[in-house]
């Protein structure tokens, strides 16, 4: 919603994300802030920020499958894992550079997701959730037992840092910029996807099972595509994760991680990529605060054990999901939009 007096003379300008000069200024300011962040912080904060960007990419993907197309996916971390393994294997044995392994990881995860998206053509809702859980459960069992030469078996794979122009992207700052660059590209893609033809087809599928077919949208194709898109993001997130942690094992990609991803998306709001951003920010913030408080409490010898403080992360996330579902089903993104509208039309509110 815009204040009265702001109008556009062409549909093209009306449809943009950044419509007015102050909006463009704010966005540029944000970009400058993100780019300048390494100079304002330390290695520890940079690590957290990079990890948050990596998570955000996976949650963007989940938003495409779950939020846009309405196909429940509880196996996102399996697809992240596939991406991580493929990136590690390709950069290790084949020695490919990161700008080839990262897209390859996305494609590999996307292709794997097609297999588990196929049931989506026949079942929906809760039953679909189950097949994706099956993907999640089968993933580590299979990966560990593949030939050791492929994915390292139970030991996992070690990973070389990324290289470009003879330079090693090993320091936290370089890793931060790599993650930020990929996040910006994929974020732009996710925001624009939702208003493209494909994105509208996804939303039609989410809202009704029969009507899209009548409108000339092939449900089979688009459901598979929704899974592919979501897992593609997941795979890229996994590849970045592999470059970040430099070691890949199946223990890193559990059902719990999938659950955390979906929790972030729900708290943030399912219906727009903005939800993915806000949810990841919120949950990471809470996690880090609790972590910090926990460390302080441990250091203060107050008798409160660290385990309790760290377990309370679970309590907060679980509680946040349930409270969001009951009281604010559209998540933080909805709240954010309300605040934004209120700010823009202030002081002349319409109602």
């Amino acid at each position: 919603m815009l204040p009265s007096g702001v109008y556009f003379e062409s549909f093209d300008r009306e449809g943009r994300y950044l419509r007015t000069k102050p909006q463009i200024a704010c966005f540029v300011g944000l970009l400058v802030l993100l780019a300048g962040f390494p100079f304002l912080s330390n290695d520890y904060l940079l690590g957290i920020a990079s990890m948050m960007y990596i998570t955000m990419i996976a949650v963007f993907g989940l938003q495409i499958t779950v939020g846009m197309a309405g196909q429940i996916n509880l196996g996102q971390s399996a697809f992240v894992g596939i991406g991580a393994y493929v990136a590690a294997a390709l950069s290790g044995s084949a020695g490919l550079p990161f700008w080839m392994t990262i897209p390859a990881a996305g494609l590999a995860a996307g292709s794997a997701s097609i297999l588990f998206g196929l049931p989506a053509v026949r079942v929906k809702g809760f039953y679909l959730a189950l097949t994706t859980i099956a993907a999640q459960v089968i993933f580590p069992i299979v990966v560990i037992r593949l030939p050791v030469a492929w994915f390292g078996g139970p030991n996992g794979l070690a990973m070389e840092p990324a290289h470009i122009f003879g330079r090693t992207l090993g320091s936290p700052m370089e890793m931060y910029y790599l993650c930020l660059a990929v996040l910006l590209v994929l974020g732009t893609f996710a925001f624009n996807l939702q208003r493209s033809r494909v994105g509208r087809a996804f939303r039609a599928l989410r809202d009704n099972d029969i009507v899209p077919g009548v409108l000339g949208i092939n449900p089979f194709r688009y459901k598979i595509l929704a899974f592919f898109g979501g897992a593609f993001f997941g795979g890229i997130s996994g590849a970045l994760y592999a470059y970040f942690v430099r070691y890949v094992t199946t223990d890193q990609f559990t059902l719990w991680l999938s659950v955390w991803y979906i929790g972030m998306l729900i708290v943030g709001g399912l219906h727009s990529p903005l939800g993915a951003i806000l949810g990841t920010l919120f949950i990471t913030g809470v996690q880090e605060t609790i972590h910090h408080v926990g460390t302080l409490l441990l250091a203060s010898h107050s008798g409160i054990s660290g385990g309790i403080v760290f377990a309370s992360t679970n309590v907060v996330l679980g509680g946040a999901i349930i409270i969001t579902l009951i009281f604010e089903p559209y998540g933080l993104a909805h709240r954010w939009n309300l605040i934004k509208a209120a700010y823009r039309i202030w002081p002349y509110s319409h109602n």
Binding site: K124, G125, F126, R145, A311, V316, I321, I322
Partner: protein, 294 residues
């Protein structure tokens, strides 16, 4: 041949124990149309209640069991009232997500209340093995299997021959029709949750008796899901039967296929069955054909 029969018999016993966990899914689903993915964690809470009653409060065994069971049923009622009742009428997605939120929440609460370390669970059922002819049976599992069969028949009788059970069945068929016939849906859901959580804690006694209690026990919830699905989510009698099918299949796979696949087959087997069921017959063997399908 004796080996083969022994494996099959063990599979049957394990399968019946899966069946009792699957039944707790079924009972809740019938009345409230909610598949509670957090059932494994709910079972875990029941187990910790029992541990506290017997080892923490030092109650005698029988009294401890009664107190813990009552506490579990109260816990089920609270879950229904606070979390799932406000979500009546919401899309399936919200309810699945709420159960996932509950899963995380309970895990955290258990760690806060009891700590994360593993502990010894009281040996409520007799341990050791019983020899019949050439076959050996695990006594706890044998008692558990017998209890499952008894409970199934009792529940089946309750659902088909008592007033309150028939109300639940009406609610299971259709919420709107049930409401217009004067059956209270929230009340039915409440009863179903109390029953379901009670069943889960009975399952906890059978599964855990004399073994180690820790967070990893909750995995049994996900192992029982394929069973509930294969039996049909509305069918009380289907659950133990599907349990036997999956239990035997798992036992045979672990004996004959695991050496070939490096131990993968028995773990993957239930989930392969699950995907197969979803693709071929989503309502399961004995479920009602009102499944949400595209």
């Amino acid at each position: 041949m004796v080996d083969f029969l022994q494996i099959v018999l063990n599979g049957v016993l394990t399968g019946l124990v899966y069946g009792i966990v699957a039944m707790s899914f079924v009972v809740i689903y019938r009345a409230s149309r909610i598949v509670n993915l957090a059932q494994g964690e709910v079972l875990l809470v029941g187990a910790y209640f029992l541990w506290t009653a017997i080892f923490g409060l030092h109650l005698p065994l029988v009294l401890g069991l009664v107190v813990a069971l009552a506490a579990c049923m109260g816990f089920g009622m609270i879950l229904e009232r606070t979390i799932f009742r406000p979500l009546i009428g919401q899309p399936a997605f919200s309810i699945v997500m709420a159960s996932i939120g509950l899963m995380i929440l309970l895990r955290g609460l258990i760690q806060v209340a009891w700590g994360a370390q593993d502990r010894q669970f009281p040996g409520i059922l007799p341990g050791g093995a019983l020899q019949v002819g050439e076959f050996l049976f695990n006594k706890a599992l044998l008692i558990g299997a017998a209890a499952t069969v008894l409970l199934v028949e009792a529940l089946n009788w309750y659902f088909l021959h008592t007033d309150s059970g028939l109300r639940l069945a009406a609610v299971a068929e259709d919420h709107v029709t049930a409401l217009s016939m004067g059956v209270s849906v929230p009340r039915a859901a409440n009863i179903a949750w109390v029953l379901g959580v009670g069943l889960a804690s009975v399952a906890a006694v059978i599964v855990l008796s004399g073994t180690i209690l820790g967070l990893s026990v909750s995995a049994i919830g996900f192992r029982a899901l394929p069973v509930a699905l294969l039996g049909g989510l509305e069918s009380v009698r289907g659950a133990p039967l599907a349990g036997v099918i999956i239990g035997v299949g798992e036992a045979l796979a672990s004996e004959y296929l695991d050496p070939l696949t490096n131990g993968a087959m028995s773990q993957v087997f239930p989930f392969l069955i699950m995907i197969g069921v979803l693709l071929i017959r989503p309502q399961g063997l004995f479920g009602w054909k009102i499944i949400e399908r595209v």
